[in-house]
């Protein structure tokens, strides 16, 4: 909670609405979203399936234009994707014609960084995701969890201002998932990254976030935002103890109630 003291706004979403399709066949996916993402925050977004979480992420990334309202990044309107906003997809979109090394180096290379620097960055982040030994492999030789770690390293290699993640661990088994959660939490802490993270797993949200945004069913609106600090407690104590504390269940039940009310 100490970080909250010196808030520095990074992304501002103003009165954003998004409609897919034309007139009769249109779907209102997002309705009047207002959200501010501050530097260094770990925001998790929860909500029932189809509520527009991915759509919101695509608006922030610049993949789609909102029907009304705006996404501002440091005061400037987002207009198309760029490397300041890195994206990790649910299924890792690694390029199979490149090795792991080349995948991770892709971003820095596109930005024409000097060769030596590219190599240092690549080594640092592959080490950060515990894949130092796998650099010469092709990505189809890796397991699902390893692929997602490469995807994370590839995005981080650009030192983006914010990392947008759309259910990045959704396809992984429970054990790998827990490891990945620890990994991303440590990376966030070490590199002072800002993360916007979509999940449909309440525990995942509570174990990672500073702030949990809960959305309504379609059309997606923000119902409530919870400030939590379990992720900081985990740094101090370790995951198991946090799960068995009363505060945790109180917040979790509250969120579950909201979501269940939405589904009924």
């Amino acid at each position: 909670m100490t970080a909250q003291a010196k808030k520095e706004s990074l992304i501002k979403i103003n009165n954003l609405s998004l409609e897919y399709g034309e007139s009769i066949n249109s779907t209102l996916a997002l309705k009047k979203i207002d959200l501010e993402i501050n530097k260094g925050e770990f925001i998790c977004v929860l909500g029932p399936s189809g509520c527009g979480k991915s759509s919101l992420l695509k608006c922030i990334a610049g993949y789609i234009k909102p029907t009304s309202g705006r996404v501002l990044m440091q005061g400037e309107e987002v207009d198309g994707p760029d490397w300041h906003r890195g994206v990790v997809f649910q299924s890792p979109t690694l390029y199979p014609w490149m090795t792991v090394n080349e995948n991770v180096e892709f971003g820095p290379k596109m930005r024409d960084l000097p060769k030596a620097e590219i190599k240092d960055i690549r080594e640092y982040f592959l080490n950060e995701v515990n894949l130092s030994g796998a650099g010469e492999n092709y990505t189809f030789e890796l397991s699902g969890g390893m692929k997602q770690r490469v995807a994370i390293a590839r995005v981080l290699a650009n030192y983006p201002q914010v990392v947008l993640m759309d259910e990045p661990f959704g396809a992984l088994d429970a054990l790998t998932r827990e490891n990945m959660q620890n990994l991303i939490r440590n990376i966030w802490e070490e590199n002072n990254t800002t993360i916007f993270f979509i999940t449909h797993d309440v525990d995942e949200a509570l174990l990672l976030a500073n702030r949990v945004v809960v959305m309504s069913k379609q059309p997606g609106e923000i119902i409530e935002i919870f400030n939590v600090n379990f992720t900081n407690q985990i740094f101090e104590k370790g995951s198991k103890e946090v799960i068995y504390n009363e505060d945790y269940f109180e917040v979790k039940n509250e969120i579950m109630d909201i979501i269940h009310n939405q589904i009924d």
Partner: protein, 287 residues
Amino acid sequence: MALNNKNAEKQDNNSSAQAANQNISRKTAENKKTKTEKALTILTWGSIFLIWYVITRLGIFTPTLLPGPARVWKAFLRILENGYNGVPIWVHLGASFKRLFVAIFFAISTAVPLGLLSGYFDKIEAVLDSVVEFYRPLPPLAYYTLLILWFGIDDTSKQILLFLAAFAPIYIACVSAVRKLNQDFVLSAKSLGANQKDVFLKIVLPASLPEIFTGIRTAFGVAYTTLVSSEMVAATSGIGWMVLDASNFLKSDVIFVGIIIMGITGVIIDAGLRFLERKIIFWKGHI
């Protein structure tokens, strides 16, 4: 993988040149053959030779019309040694292959960029697509006569003919490859800082390679049949011309030799292409 194969076969069947393509599609299906399947293939060819032999033995046709295997073999050795009409067989094959490879080279180097650009930019497609769609279904020999009038009977008209025949399948494969491209590849590249040109060269091009290769293999098939038929219409050299010339003199053993050589070279070319494909697109099926 299975889907890819099906597509490849579909394209093959659609194209106008069928004889050569049957080679291609059969080969595609043979990718993973077991011992029994191999034995079956060998058995088939054994039976074909046996039936051939029995028919010639029975004397249903005169040997001038249907020469037996032994006669064809002798003709083959004779042609190997003395050539045909005093010109070595290698010169005939070389003349044919020069036409084929020059045409394919130009077809690849124009159809790939134009096809990819057409898939990427709708405006370029609006310019090119209708023209390709118009001439593609035409039998190449239909406009060959025009080409001969304009460019003469030499290699130029043949190379242009083969170029046109090979261009369409490659172009169409490239357009469809870009259309089917996983958009997340493009989006993730842009989010990593890639500009339009980088996206095109580093993402769109490699991601389209599997389909481009299928297109090139189809193009080879089409160009090869077109080549042989064009040499039968107007030429003074080449393997197709050799067969035509032999038929004028009723040398059916030479016709057999010519046809067998064409068949075998077709299979060898396709095997070479598939070998290249495995080397270059080692990641195929993992996309």
